[in-house]
Symmetry: C2
């Protein structure tokens, strides 16, 4: 399979769905809905929704059941980027070459656009119109996503990441906590949600959970490596910015070579966890390989 | 019945439940969990959870089924206060006489504590351990709460409120939009959620929805009036601050006397909507009367 083509196709479908699920720009309050859409359609790679749909495919599920959750994942991811970019947090003026949300809409609307995107994710996840599975299982999907997005997941990772910035004595356990929570949790949630929505058996769900955990961590280690080896043009932000900020990264703690081996090892683990699946899981396999091979 | 005693009793039960449902302060990341708890236990009146439980009582429901949702409402309300107080928003240093969240924990942690409280509400609402009603009905509760908290509810109201500040030509429709969305939506959601969790019939739910809408608006109009007539000591913030900020309020648009009549009228409407209920709905009746009679 051609992963590039696959991702391109999926992104188009996801973008159409996001446009359908988000409040229209001319609906009151227009500035808020415009700000929400600005960051959603800012050229994201849609990795979480693609993963969610691919996990659904792996167990032979139906996209129609999974698409609202796929879009909810992207809304949560986007809210986290809007808040991360705020002056009180990373204070970034640009993301993927475009002005960040607060640079365009002001800090107050940016904070509220983030809040609204996070909330809208749960409006979407609980919409009875889109419910194609058992309601109790849908509650499990909501809980998985909320748990992985909250203080024991993404937000928790962000706090520890911030608190570790500039400290010279960060250990591997702390970096691993940051990576598995800040980035890994939501990727794992995407894979698990896709599996449940696709009708996974307990055994399939357990295997896909292992896959999700492995690629979530691999993705962030690969990001750390890209920050060192990528060019500013390739990665769309200043190369070397992690080091300049004193960020807790794998290469900083265990060295670049060990970080690379760890990423490769995790991809191998991810592939091994997919052994029970047929070629419906090929997209997941390709995504795992792509995560460490990508240049942006 | 003695409403003061009733509310005091309920607040004690709600506080115990909040303490149980929130992540412990010594759990990682400690600063985040500490910040979440700081604002939750900052002397709030617990109006939304009290309303939720009272609506559950009105239909003869069981508190055990309703308590997680009651606490989720307070988490959402508290997150909105933390974000409202931020320098980029209302820039308030004190709330109820205590330093605001960002004054104690810094802006970054305050933003994230708000995010985490909002997310934790959905972790709680989707917890299978606390599920005492049909899962499809629980999804309806989640949807009601999320919808009323998001861009078509509380967050939407907050945006229009901000955008109207200092404008001299605000009309009644805009003030009504702000009040019914910024404050009213979450109070209506509390009443509806309590009714559904308590096992309300369609007819009961419709009546309680009318009640929730009426008291939600009455509450905010009463707040506007208090800002003019209350003392700084009574209301716990600077009296007259709405006017000083050029806030869109009922008294500013229709005058103090008309605003008072409107509040009284809404309380009458709320009481009328409860006619089909027996004395199990007395707490809801007393709360409606209290909303316009209160001094803080």
């Amino acid at each position: 399979m051609n992963l590039k083509e696959y991702i391109k196709d999926r992104c188009a479908i996801i973008d159409t769905a996001l446009d359908r699920f988000l409040p229209p720009e001319d609906e009151l309050p227009a500035s808020l809905h415009s700000a929400m859409r600005y960051s959603i359609f800012a050229g994201g790679k849609r990795i979480r929704p693609v993963l969610l749909l691919a996990a659904c495919d792996a167990v032979g599920g139906d996209h129609e059941a999974a698409m609202p959750a796929a879009c909810a994942m992207e809304m949560i991811h986007t809210y986290s980027l809007i808040h991360d970019d705020l002056p009180a947090m990373d204070d970034d003026d640009f993301r993927r070459g475009r002005p960040t949300n607060h640079k365009v809409y002001g800090e107050a609307v940016a904070i509220l656009a983030g809040d609204a995107l996070l909330t809208e994710a749960f409006v979407l996840l609980s919409n009875p119109e889109y419910l194609k599975i058992d309601a109790a299982k849908m509650l499990a999907v909501i809980r998985e996503i909320a748990f992985c997005a909250g203080s024991h997941g993404m937000v928790g990772g962000q706090v520890v990441d911030m608190e570790s910035e500039g400290k010279s004595d960060i250990d591997l356990a702390t970096v691993q906590y940051i990576h598995t929570h800040k980035t890994g949790a939501l990727m794992k949630a995407a894979v698990k949600a896709g599996a449940i929505l696709g009708g996974a058996s307990d055994e399939e769900l357990a295997a896909l959970t292992r896959y999700g955990e492995a690629i979530g961590l691999a993705f962030q280690i690969a990001d750390d490596i890209l920050d060192i080896e990528g060019t500013t043009e390739e990665i769309g932000k200043d190369a070397g910015s992690d080091q300049a900020r004193g960020k807790a990264t794998y290469p900083a703690v265990i060295g670049l070579t060990s970080a690379k081996s760890r990423a490769t090892e995790l991809v191998e683990m991810a592939l091994t966890s997919l052994e029970m699946f047929n070629n419906n899981a090929d997209p997941l396999r390709e995504i795992a390989r792509y995560i460490v091979a990508r240049k942006s």
